[in-house]
Symmetry: C2
Subunit: 244 residues, 2 copies
């Protein structure tokens, strides 16, 4: 039984948005004269452009606001506002990083049933591992694979093959749960794993994300090609069904 991490085992979309707002609040409290909603929207576009693992989102935000004449700050005061943003961002992340309520219960049950558990995740390996440790789920996991240092990542089937080889199981023996049609469900289906789509209200939840190209992916998978759940506890039933 393998899991995606972000927006599958914890509320990644919600947490990032809350953390970004936390950063902006600290900046505004310190005197940055911007409307928080406007700044949040600009920040979202910056994250989209530079990727979520880029480390200078707040630098880019201030630069944008400066260039567009929305703020006027002495160059040597800029680091103060960036530091406030970083501080606010991390405070929120640390305080609110928690697994979804159904995660620990389910992982415990899976371990009691004697199943092998694993995480297959993209992202920066140290960053992903820090999340796993802070979420306190590592003791329930037999394997964790992060694609950063490999030559391939999701949705490349080679990444999934690498993970399955390391565990020593066939794709057909592996249930794989994720929240994304493109990077989780489609590749798992193509590889003949047993894919489960979990709805977590993250930004790639097909109930939330209304991008047509994204939603069209579902047409490449027959309805019988994957399971669909709203709570992780439902996997126990699916396993029982599969075992019969």
């Amino acid at each position: 039984m393998a899991f995606d991490l972000d927006d599958t085992l914890f509320n990644a979309t919600w947490l990032s948005n809350k953390a970004r707002l936390g950063g902006l609040q600290k900046m505004i409290k310190l005197g940055l004269n911007v409307n928080i909603k406007d700044a949040f929207n600009i920040l979202e576009k910056i994250v989209e452009k530079f990727g979520s693992n880029y480390s200078k989102h707040f630098d880019e935000l201030l630069n944008y606001l400066q260039v567009n004449g929305q703020i006027k700050i002495d160059q040597y005061q800029i680091p103060k506002y960036i530091a406030a943003g970083v501080w606010g961002y991390h405070s929120v992340k640390e305080k609110y990083l928690k697994p979804f309520k159904d995660v620990i219960t389910t992982l415990k049950k899976l371990k009691n049933e004697g199943l092998i558990t694993a995480i297959f995740s993209d992202g920066l390996d140290i960053k992903q591992w820090e999340k796993i440790l802070r979420l306190q789920i590592h003791s329930y996991l037999d394997y964790v694979f992060i694609s950063e240092k490999l030559e391939y990542k999701k949705p490349d089937s080679k990444f999934f093959e690498f993970c399955l080889n390391k565990i020593g199981i066939d794709p057909s023996e592996c249930i794989y749960i994720g929240d994304r049609l493109d990077k989780d469900i489609l590749p798992a289906y193509k590889m003949e794993m047993i894919p489960i789509l979990i709805h977590r209200k993250g930004k790639y939840d097909p109930n939330i994300n209304k991008n047509e190209n994204y939603l069209n992916i579902i047409n490449q998978i027959p309805k019988s090609g994957y399971y669909e759940i709203y709570k992780l506890t439902e996997v126990i039933k699916i396993i029982k069904k599969l075992n019969n």
Copy 2:
């Protein structure tokens, strides 16, 4: 009245050591099979070699232990231990980062007296600013200057000149307090500022640091060329004396 930051306004040496031990403890708890004292000593040497602002001390530590055959860890498990180290390190830093007990009181008094207050610091500007914000001393400071983005840093007199020019005062009008003979007291003396050496038991406190070259710096400054204090509150008396 200008201040150095690390080991002048907060316990930087003590905190870094505690944070490094915190990181090592988390790594060991996760299964890293090393003696904490040995690992700490190796880590100290790594920090010395790569500098305190290098972001991969724990990576280097594991690499060293691996190369020297002291541990044997699967390559893909390495990020787990690094993440544990980083987590432990930051948890301690965030929990124990506090100004010395005499700092807020003194800053308040200085502001009440109508004095201009400033920090002149080396280091990474965002990192230094984050410390200042977390220490909650920024509202008592009129100016903060970090040398990172400038072409000069301590002990270069140009850095001090830059700060004094920005404030608009002469060196002789500026009391400057720091813990280091080499980067604080000697340049402040040469520039004809009013230097105060504060003893904080940090790694550059002349009562702690027994490096001969370091201690010899004191011979370049006459005893009458600087003040020496053990508590920051003593500056109030010095100011009164100077005003008479």
